[in-house]
């Protein structure tokens, strides 16, 4: 029963519960004193996300990893990513714009794809001059998410592969449907002139 995964999961679970209590206390303080503490809340959520991501990385890199696929309304997913990142980027003077032309549901791992897009936008935000754009569209039977920025682009292509990217590649690949695998593509010179992150899901 007590495998390494159980121990890690239980620790992450407890820590996230504590962070949730902290965030609710901040929320209560905002209401009580009429102040806006969005960045404090963002920091707490970012810490929780970081914990989740570590656990997800550990789980996904195991051989028997399985994504949790449910039908997801793509526009809702984009809206949620926007909610997570928009204010924080605005505080750094960067505008996050979005476009989503997908009306239907799509089978995907909602939490992991959301996290991957959040991560991509955070990365783009670090290098962008003033703009980051999130797009979702259908392309010949594939669902394509892209994140573009107007920064200098990746210094090398393919970029040096850190843990985050390794996990992202793996996650894309785990989305398998009718003999087709998902994939991740990184490039430069996108419509905003900077880096482009593209996730293609079958």
């Amino acid at each position: 029963m007590h495998t390494l995964l159980d121990v890690l999961a239980s620790g992450v679970h407890d820590a996230k519960n504590q962070l949730f209590v902290a965030e609710s206390l901040i929320t209560a303080a905002e209401t009580q004193y009429g102040v806006e503490l969005g960045e404090a809340r963002y920091a707490i959520e970012a810490a929780a996300t970081r914990l989740s991501r570590t656990l997800a990385a550990y789980t996904l890199l195991r051989e028997d990893a399985q994504p949790a696929i449910t039908p997801v309304i793509v526009a809702d997913l984009c809206a949620e990513v926007g909610l997570d990142q928009k204010k924080h980027l605005a505080a750094a003077g960067i505008e996050l714009s979005q476009s989503c032309s997908v009306v239907d549901e799509w089978p995907l791992d909602r939490d992991l794809v959301t996290d991957m897009l959040n991560n991509a936008i955070q990365n783009a935000g670090r290098h962008a001059r003033s703009r980051v754009h999130l797009d979702a569209r259908l392309d010949a039977g594939w669902l394509v998410f892209s994140v573009e920025d107007d920064g200098p682009g990746f210094a090398t292509l393919p970029p040096a592969c850190g843990t985050g990217l390794t996990v992202a590649h793996r996650l894309a690949f785990l989305h398998r449907r009718q003999e087709r695998d998902g994939s991740l593509h990184l490039s430069n010179g996108a419509s905003l002139g900077g880096a482009r992150f593209e996730l293609r899901l079958p």
Binding site: K16, N17, F20, S24, A28, I69, P71, E105, D111
Partner: protein, 451 residues
């Protein structure tokens, strides 16, 4: 004013700090009426008394219970209308694995920590979805299956239905299954699988095949599901049921024993385990499990006369006639009056063995009905045992013949043979078997009417 101001919230969490946190969030989005439930029982009690509009339930409820079990029990007892919102709150990503596999899902789940804004976004969407399915829910509740299907069919092709395509297909398959159209349900689930290999849809195929009594096909489908999603416990239950129908009682018991260990407070599963143990001849386990169910399933109305009959059955199996008699006479007069014929027959049959003075006259009084009525497999087995014990060959042979001719022949075969052997009548049982087999061959060879 926020649209959530008028909604009644119920927050279910065993941790005081987390409860306060959830209340704070609910109040921030405008809620006035926020009730608490501190544990599983308390939650059921509150929901039964006054169904909330929105339930925020933590996945971990303590005492070996989970929010998922609560959700399943609420649905089982029909305590949760489709219009109510059930939102699972979880710190564990592993819950996502559960949601992606199982048939019974909450309206949504949200991972801690989350902001009030995020909760509003999620709730708004669920409200929009409930609004979209509003008329369908009404027909579904009235069991107007044709009308429910007609609504889904229209929605399936509508522009407004595009974001809910899978939900519409899923609901449609469920309605087909509930309405008794198991061929239609099978096709509907297979259609969903063409899009993606969802474990719940594969389980739906197995369930539909089981209803059609296509047992080996059902078995190979459910084997796939159980192998790929070990945390999908309902699939294990279904597999055990299919095993029992195939007469593979030892395997059924093994499967249920494994899952029951992981869900120690799921009494519905324990009932199933006791049934498998009974069929498997493991009377000790059956006795212990049914005693546990009758003593500890504290949900009001959960322990039924059928449970007491199952307990008495296992006690008769174990030859503990004193306990069996006690279990039977412990039934209340009011419960006795409401027993259906199956339960009455089982009661009389079990009492005739455990307390002949009281039981035999009752058993004799029901004999005409036992010789003519359609009865459930368990009741027929009970009657068969008592009839053999009392030397009533005609009554015993009638039950054996009916069981062998019925769809659950494999399920009851081992138990029948054992009883006949106990009374030195193996040869008679083999003769009944032969006659039934011959009759089946003649029936299959006979020209079909109109052919």
């Amino acid at each position: 004013m926020s649209q959530y101001a008028k909604k009644r919230f119920l927050v279910i969490d065993d941790q005081p700090q987390a409860r306060d946190a959830l209340r704070t969030i609910a109040q921030t989005i405008g809620a006035f009426a926020v009730e608490f439930a501190t544990n599983y029982q308390d939650a059921i009690y509150r929901i039964r008394n006054n169904v909330p509009d929105i339930i925020l339930c933590d996945y971990v409820l303590g005492e070996g219970r989970s929010g998922q079990q609560l959700l399943e029990e609420l649905r089982r007892f029909n305590l949760l209308a489709d219009e109510s919102i059930f939102m699972m709150v979880t710190g564990e990503q592993s819950y996502e694995q559960v949601v992606s596999a199982v048939e019974l899902v909450p309206d949504d789940y949200i991972i801690k920590p989350f902001s009030p804004d995020k909760l509003v976004l999620r709730l708004d969407r669920i409200m929009a979805k409930k609004e979209f399915f509003k008329e369908y829910y009404q027909e579904k509740r009235k069991k107007e299956y044709a009308a429910a299907l007609a609504i889904l069919e229209a929605q399936r092709n509508s522009e407004a239905g595009r974001p809910y395509r899978f939900e519409i297909l899923r609901q449609r398959a469920e309605v087909l299954l509930n309405s008794g159209d198991s061929e239609g349900a099978e096709q509907a689930y297979r259609g969903i699988l063409e899009n993606y290999e969802f474990p719940w849809a594969r389980a739906g195929v197995a369930r539909s095949l089981h209803r059609q009594n296509k047992l080996s096909e059902a078995r190979s489908e459910i084997d796939r599901v159980v192998a790929s999603t070990p945390h999908f416990f309902d699939a294990a239950d279904l597999k055990a049921n299919i095993c029992m129908a195939q007469g593979e009682h030892a395997e059924a018991q093994q499967i249920l024993d494994d899952v029951a260990k992981k869900t120690p407070r799921n009494y519905q599963r324990k009932r199933l385990l006791a049934e498998a143990a009974t069929l498997n001849g493991d009377t000790e386990t059956a006795c212990a499990i049914m005693a546990d169910v009758v003593a500890n399933d504290t949900m009001p109305g959960a322990v039924t006369p059928e449970d007491r009959l199952a307990l008495a059955r296992s006690q008769v199996d174990a030859n503990d006639l004193i306990s069996a008699e006690k279990s039977l006479v412990g039934l209340k007069e009011s419960e006795m009056q409401n027993l259906d014929l199956d339960a009455q027959a089982s009661y009389a049959a079990l009492l005739a063995i455990s307390s002949p003075g009281r039981g035999k006259p009752r058993f004799a009084g029901l004999r005409p009905a036992m010789m003519s009525a359609q009865l459930a497999t368990n009741s027929r087995l009970d009657i068969l045992r008592s009839a053999l014990a009392l030397g009533d060959h005609e009554l015993a042979d009638h039950q054996a013949k009916a069981l062998l001719e019925g769809e659950e022949a494999k399920r009851s075969f081992g138990a029948m043979r054992k009883q006949y052997a106990l009374h030195g009548r193996e040869q008679d049982f083999r003769n009944i078997q032969k006659r039934v087999a011959l009759k089946r061959i003649h029936h299959d060879e006979a020209p079909k009417p109109g052919a």
